[in-house]
């Protein structure tokens, strides 16, 4: 399922960068609880929101979607 895979990839990249949910929330101006919901696959972000997150995580949207689609396979 798309949301689960998106959440897993956000969480993995966040941890690889050594960021807490709180720090990612601060950098993206999104609430920590929203970050948590995304990571658990409970929400589907808009592309705008995802663009903000991938910018902070320093990955292109294309590379991000590649990771999500690999997760789904």
């Amino acid at each position: 399922m798309m949301n689960k895979a998106v959440g897993k990839v956000i969480k993995r990249l966040r941890e690889e960068r050594g960021l807490s949910q709180e720090q990612l929330g601060f950098e993206t101006k999104l609430h920590r609880t929203y970050i948590s919901q995304l990571e658990r696959g409970l929400k589907s972000p808009t592309l705008n929101t995802l663009a903000t997150i991938t910018k902070v995580l320093n990955i292109s949207m294309t590379e991000f979607m590649k990771l999500v689609e690999n997760e789904n396979n």
Copy 2:
């Protein structure tokens, strides 16, 4: 801007497939006016919505994002 590029790419792919906004709306179960708003860059779709659209347009999310990022460059 992300939404503009997303809209352009949806419109281009839809037209390449010979679909009207109405037909794409029917296939995706989205309202034709919402398709129109997306194509004009007035809305940012959620990833779930985009996944539904790209499925009907027969393109992977990764390939879709590549087109969007090329549009932005």
